[in-house]
């Protein structure tokens, strides 16, 4: 028993282990070497004390999909939850696409979804256009939502489950001195009476979930480190009705060096307008040029449109080096859970919020016990185990197919293949890497190599022409 306890102190905690009075001694590192974290079955119940007369208090900073989902799960698990959101009617600039599984997993009402996209068009640098979506079944679609609607709905549900929603701006937090002292959060509360400036307040909580997005302050206060990020630039354009019918249930993706050197340009239909945008990691300074190029490629189809809004937002490219620290965990964009290649973030934000909250609920036994870092670490383990393959696959796809114009041409050519479409949509809509048939996989591999070879051969021809 003592060994497990001391081992636990070693794996779960860093400097804080010296401050703990509960643990007997440090186990020298050589002993813990052969132990891999995955083989340890540590339960919090033995080490952490019961909370005598109160429930566990957890603050969720940020009220987007991640924060809303986390707060709801925490409140349902019997934990005293406080959700702090700085702008209740925030229209976060966003692509706004959610996969089908999110509707089911989070019980979203269908009227939240403005549009159901069932067709997509991929357009190569030389304007070869490929329609994908033929393999979709009747009930399958990509949902387009308005962020202000989705976020408000999830927050409302959290409130109904018992969470307290506060309109306030998180400023900083004081770290606890002991392993079971509370965190002191400093925030500005906007309650409408004190006007725009709000009142400075503090709050003591046992744990914090940082769901405050790409520029997370929680991440800064735990020294989570930085990540590379892409800039996504988007213009909302209201186009004439007859042109809008083309985009009724169709989204477009443009690839090419003119549109973006490492990402894609898009035309996504929203409730009554389209969003035309592009993004880049490496050439952020040229984003306006890329946007013009995207508009140019879609020119015929958005002619006569009026720009009603221009927005930009950062998209994390990979997770932060440190995603949790003692009793503070990051979820969603704050942690950097955006996939490569497609740049999808909403589903992963909500899912990570829920997973983290579940880990807290379990570790605290429905709010009765104090938690420690080991419980939050379980959330990281589960997350990495479930979704790392997905992230890896998308990273490989981005590296292979977005690196140059020939690669993009090959990419679009491959998308014409029915098997590719089926696999792509299956993995996107249901977030599972479905096992296809091996024969088809081999054929796909051969075809991919063939497309890449042909496209690169054409590039060599192009180079010969310019000489």
């Amino acid at each position: 028993m003592a060994t497990t306890v001391t081992l636990k102190s070693f794996t779960g905690l860093r400097q804080s282990s010296t401050e703990q009075t509960n643990f007997v001694s440090h186990v020298p590192s050589s002993l813990s070497l052969p132990q891999r974290r995955s083989s340890l079955r540590v339960t919090a119940s033995r080490a952490t004390p019961k909370l005598s007369n109160r429930k566990l208090r957890v603050a969720v900073i940020g009220g987007g999909p991640a924060g809303g989902a986390a707060a709801e799960t925490l409140a349902q698990g019997g934990i005293e939850t406080i959700l702090i959101e700085r702008k209740m009617d925030n229209c976060k600039p966003c692509g706004g696409a959610i996969p089908l599984c999110m509707v089911g997993e989070f019980n979203l009402p269908l009227d939240i979804i403005d549009r159901r996209v069932t067709k997509m068009k991929m357009i190569s640098p030389s304007n070869i256009a490929v329609d994908i979506g033929r393999t979709l079944k009747e009930h399958e679609y990509i949902g387009m939502v308005r962020r202000e609607v989705l976020d408000a709905y999830l927050r409302e549900r959290a409130e109904k489950s018992g969470a307290t929603v506060i309109n306030g701006l998180f400023l900083k937090m004081d770290h606890p001195e002991n392993w079971d002292s509370p965190y002191t959060l400093h925030y500005t509360e906007y309650d409408g009476k004190t006007g725009a400036t709000g009142t400075k307040k503090t709050m003591e909580v046992d744990a914090v979930i940082g769901a405050d997005g790409a520029n997370s302050r929680v991440a800064k206060s735990i020294d989570a480190g930085d990540y590379d990020y892409a800039i996504a630039f988007q213009e909302r354009i209201r186009i004439p009705d007859e042109k809008m019918t083309y985009y009724e249930d169709l989204a477009e993706m443009y690839v090419g060096d003119d549109v973006s050197p490492d990402f894609y340009g898009w035309v996504f239909p929203k409730c009554d307008h389209v969003a035309v945008g592009t993004g880049t990691v490496t050439h952020k300074g040229d984003i306006k040029k890329f946007q013009l190029a995207t508009r140019n490629r879609a020119k015929d189809k958005i002619l006569g449109g009026k720009i009603i809004r221009v927005e930009a937002h950062p998209i994390p490219e990979h997770p932060r080096p440190r995603r949790l620290s003692k009793r503070v965990a990051l979820v969603g964009d704050a942690a950097g859970y955006v996939t490569k290649c497609s740049g999808e973030g909403i589903y992963f934000a909500a899912k990570s919020g829920r997973m983290c909250a579940e880990a807290i609920v379990e570790g605290s036994q429905n709010g009765k016990k104090m938690i420690d870092e080991g419980d939050l670490r379980k959330y990281l383990e589960k997350w990495d185990k479930t979704y790392l393959p997905t992230y890896r696959v998308l990273d490989v796809l981005q590296k292979v197919f977005y690196r140059s114009n020939p690669a993009r041409e090959a990419f679009v050519e491959m998308c014409a293949d029915e098997y590719v479409q089926k696999m792509t949509f299956d993995s996107y809509l249901y977030k599972r890497v479905a096992p296809g048939s091996p024969l088809e996989d081999i054929k796909l591999a051969v075809n991919t190599i063939g497309s890449l070879v042909r496209a690169n051969a054409l590039r060599r021809e192009i180079e010969k022409l310019s000489v």
Binding site: A129, K306, I307, P319, I462
Partner: protein, 259 residues
């Protein structure tokens, strides 16, 4: 945005009655020197269709077929060198010079026009497609629902690609491998006295052979060495970024993290 308010009847560009008589390639060099594509600046207001037909050389005008609805056209060609803007301020310059070629019909190459001695000349199809892609890389065009591009490179048979691209390079690489092989065999023989047949039986020599073949295959140009190194770093970077969360908390003595 002013860019969008004037309806551009770009479809009128593709006047089906008017197919240029000469192939695209003839004009390509002329075109680049004569024309410059300028895009409308965002803060200019669209002036009415000033149908200023700049006094171009005949070829250029021919490429832009006359608009069917002159009242709303904005297709104006401005040249950097041309100053025939007779006293009129050229504000809107929507120059849409689309890719055109006699053999490019309905968004794909018309293979019948590539026939040579009764068989399709795939080489010229490949060259034509390369020219099209080059053109589009330099002058990105709008996509249009009326004229979708449907060409798929897989209609060109595999042996045409191999003949054109693989075989010359294969010859080169085999030549290099043969030269390296001959001199390495001689060198090892002179050093150790082991003949060619006995060398093949030795494990170290077989490893050298493997390294030589791999080297010839992967390092074809000087830049390839750096490229391969960067490629390796690239493939492992994303994984490293994900494992960083675990590495931080391990003791220094615990080597690499799990997974």
């Amino acid at each position: 945005m002013a860019l969008f308010s004037p309806p551009i009847s770009s479809s009128s560009l593709q006047n089906p009655n008017f197919i240029p008589k000469f192939s695209f390639s003839l004009l390509s060099t002329n075109r680049f020197s004569l024309l410059s594509v300028t895009r409308a600046s965002s803060d200019t207001s669209p002036t009415a269709a000033t149908a200023v037909e700049a006094p171009e050389p005949v070829e250029v005008i021919v490429k832009e077929p006359p608009q069917s609805t002159p009242a709303v056209t904005k297709e104006e060609i401005t040249t950097a060198k041309n100053v025939a803007v007779e006293g009129e301020e050229m504000k809107t310059t929507e120059t849409v010079i689309k890719f055109q070629d006699a053999r490019w019909i309905n968004g794909t190459w018309d293979l019948k026009q590539f026939e040579k001695d009764g068989k399709t000349d795939w080489d010229s199809v490949i060259v034509a497609e390369a020219k099209r892609r080059k053109w589009l890389e330099e002058n990105p065009e709008t996509t249009s629902n009326d004229e979708p591009v449907l060409f798929d490179t897989s209609i060109i048979p595999w042996w045409a690609w191999i003949k054109r691209y693989h075989l010359p390079e294969a010859e080169l690489l085999n030549g290099r491998a043969a030269m390296i092989g001959f001199f390495m065999a001689y060198f090892v023989d002179s050093l150790t006295g082991v003949g060619l047949v006995d060398q093949m039986g030795n494990f170290f020599c077989k490893t050298l052979l493997f390294v030589a073949v791999a080297g010839v295959l992967f390092i074809r140009k000087n830049e390839d060495v750096d490229k391969l190194k960067n490629l390796f770093d690239e493939t492992t970077l994303y994984d490293k970024q994900w494992q960083a969360a675990w590495k931080n908390d391990d003791d220094e003595s615990l080597g690499s993290s799990k997974k």
